[in-house]
């Protein structure tokens, strides 16, 4: 390092000599060219995409949502949904390169909610709220055909294998954990986790870092057999959509008429989202189910509390996801003086003008936010587990085979499997 500096200094000196030939003092001056030569060209500044094009994106999203809802609820056309998902994959995925997407916009909204100085463009708000509003009225039609992440998995699902219910139920809980973790990391200013772990962005852009490509390829490879692994087990936006979908005004129905309980739709659904009819099963005795419910309700605060305790313990390791904490750790290892094989982080910090005390102050602030964030996050996880147990223990009576609104992605595979639906289509076609 020192040797390079000396050489550079020497070179500096010689260079100054070269340039300063005509100059009276030992200074480097800009050349004064004669006028035929030379207005110095300005550096080119190619502009970004035009701002107004965003409103086309918003309109495209709204239109796609309307069409998806029409195909899923009104015309009951699986083929229409497939064509639409291809179009959306091309537009939102390959053409718009997957950014901004509603899945990632959750973080922007949360960030802007917590930190008022964060810039929030109108397109982010539109992409976040439009699918939510549609879901409140029509179920997850956004997942059916509009989401490019869902579409790419939908189109590469070759041989669906059905997972046992308990596996898909337990893995499905991971969406909430992921959502909680992502929001915690946004709140502490560490990173946008969902964006950095986006599986398909590298595919949409035909290139990316190696881990991104490997992750994307893995999800796609699993997704060839297990339907939509990202949507069902990871997607944080899907977790929110699932909750809202339970309140939806209308929803995909499997059969257009009375269900004959033939179970064929259950086999057709690769996502395990169809709940069987159970209204003729005998109930267990009321006292027993009451005791169990009471026990689980008592367990809920216990789970939340143990989550909080776990969160307090997890705050320290979790805080290493923040680069300032990492930097302080590296500095403490290296010492404050410049060393030869310093890391890029510490070298950059030494060249800046922040003092060590200021850095420590800053990291203390970050650590505090990690502490509260981690406690909130882990109690949330505890709450999710408790709530899941309670919801599993409550028996819901169903006369027909019905899609579970929380997990059904309105893909429309079950329409064709339904013999009643086939009967209806036949009648419709015969009509003059």
């Amino acid at each position: 390092m020192r040797r390079t500096l000396i050489i550079l200094l020497l070179l500096c000196a010689t260079a100054n000599l070269v340039h300063a030939q005509d100059a009276p003092s030992f200074r480097v001056l800009r050349p004064i060219f004669d006028e035929t030569f030379h207005e110095p060209p300005a550096p080119g500044t190619p502009g970004p995409r035009e701002n107004w094009l965003e409103y086309i994106d918003i309109a495209a999203l709204a239109l796609a949502l309307v069409i998806a809802t029409y195909f899923a609820l009104q015309s009951r056309s699986r083929r229409g949904l497939l064509l639409l998902s291809m179009a959306c994959l091309l537009y939102f995925g390959f053409w718009r390169k997957g950014c901004i997407c509603p899945v990632g916009s959750v973080q922007n909204m949360w960030d802007a909610f917590l930190h008022p100085d964060v810039a929030l463009p109108a397109i982010v708000i539109a992409f976040f709220s439009l699918p939510l509003i549609f879901t409140l009225f029509a179920g997850r039609t956004f997942c059916a055909a509009v989401c490019p992440l869902g579409a790419i998995q939908e189109l590469t699902l070759f041989r669906p294998v059905q997972l046992p219910t308990w596996i898909s139920h337990s893995l499905g809980l991971f969406r909430y954990v992921y959502l909680g973790l992502a929001l915690t990391l946004v709140a502490t200013g560490a990173t946008y986790l969902v964006c950095s772990l986006d599986p398909f962005i590298a595919i949409f852009r035909f290139g990316g870092t190696f881990p991104m490509l490997v992750f994307g390829a893995t999800v796609l490879a699993i997704g060839m057999f297990i339907g939509r692994p990202y949507c069902r087990f990871l997607c944080p936006y899907g977790a929110i959509l699932g909750l809202l979908s339970m309140l939806s005004r209308w929803h995909v129905t499997i059969t257009p008429d009375d269900c004959v309980n033939c179970r064929l739709c259950e086999d057709a659904c690769p996502y395990g989202a169809i709940r069987p009819a159970n209204d003729t099963l005998p109930t267990e005795s009321l006292p027993r189910s009451r005791t169990r419910l009471a026990g689980l309700l008592a367990l809920l605060p216990a789970l939340v509390l143990s989550g909080a305790i776990l969160g307090a313990m997890l705050a320290q390791p979790l805080s290493y996801s923040h680069k300032k904490i990492k930097l302080l750790h590296l500095l403490q290892q290296e010492g404050l003086e410049a060393i030869n094989d310093a890391t890029i982080e510490t070298e950059a910090w030494r060249r800046g003008d922040q003092t060590y005390e200021e850095l420590v102050e800053e990291t203390n602030e970050i650590r505090r936010s990690f502490r509260s964030g981690s406690i909130f996050f882990c109690s949330f996880v505890g709450f999710v587990f408790g709530a899941k147990l309670i919801s599993l223990s409550i028996l819901r009576r169903r006369k027909d085979y019905t899609p579970d609104p929380a997990t059904c992605m309105s893909c429309g595979r079950c329409y064709k499997a339904c013999p009643i639906e086939n009967e209806r289509l036949k009648e419709k076609n015969l009509r003059p």
Partner: protein
Amino acid sequence: MHAQKRMLSLPSRNNMPIARRHLGTTKAQDVTIEAKNKETAQDAVNRRSFLKELLRPAATLAVVGGAGALALRAKPEDYVWQIDPEKCTQCGRCATSCVLSPSAVKCVHAYALCWYCDLCGGYHQSYTQAPDTAAEHQLCPTAAINRTFMENPFYKYDIDEDKCIGCGLCVKGCAAFGNGSLFMQVRHDRCVNCNDCAIARDCPSDAFVRVPVSQPYIIKEHGKEA
């Protein structure tokens, strides 16, 4: 077709209550269980749909209200990523961290600041003895800087952005030896404006900032004093 066959072949089984299929209860028991179940099921359905009707407007209001409240704070303009050249320490991660390959970050030359040196710290290897265009004397790994003679002893340096990989070696050289007229900028004709810029995440000097679309570049106007 297949579906119909299966249905037709099992008519009796389909009509049989599921409880009897599984448990072998008597018909009389079935009737009472069924009646009771129907009643409780109806109650539960009513209760649930009532709750749903109540919660849906609440949730709609929450989504619209929340989005609206944030929309009041929102800027109509979009934002893009840019490098603050004053903060950049030329660590080289712009070349490796970008989701694009080659990176959307390129070296930009503020000609107005350039000294048009014969021996250029951004163009030549620091140990070179001969300030010429020989490949072994060049700093740029992809020979993306074109050197053209202007008048003695001045040379003009242009960046070929198709070759530039954004490694920042020339910027570092220019900052150490020249006055910093070479600097790094995100080129918006290439940048895909990721929600979470992968380089910003890895940048050790927090040089990545969000700037409004109307002013997407931070062009250096003051060089280092000689």
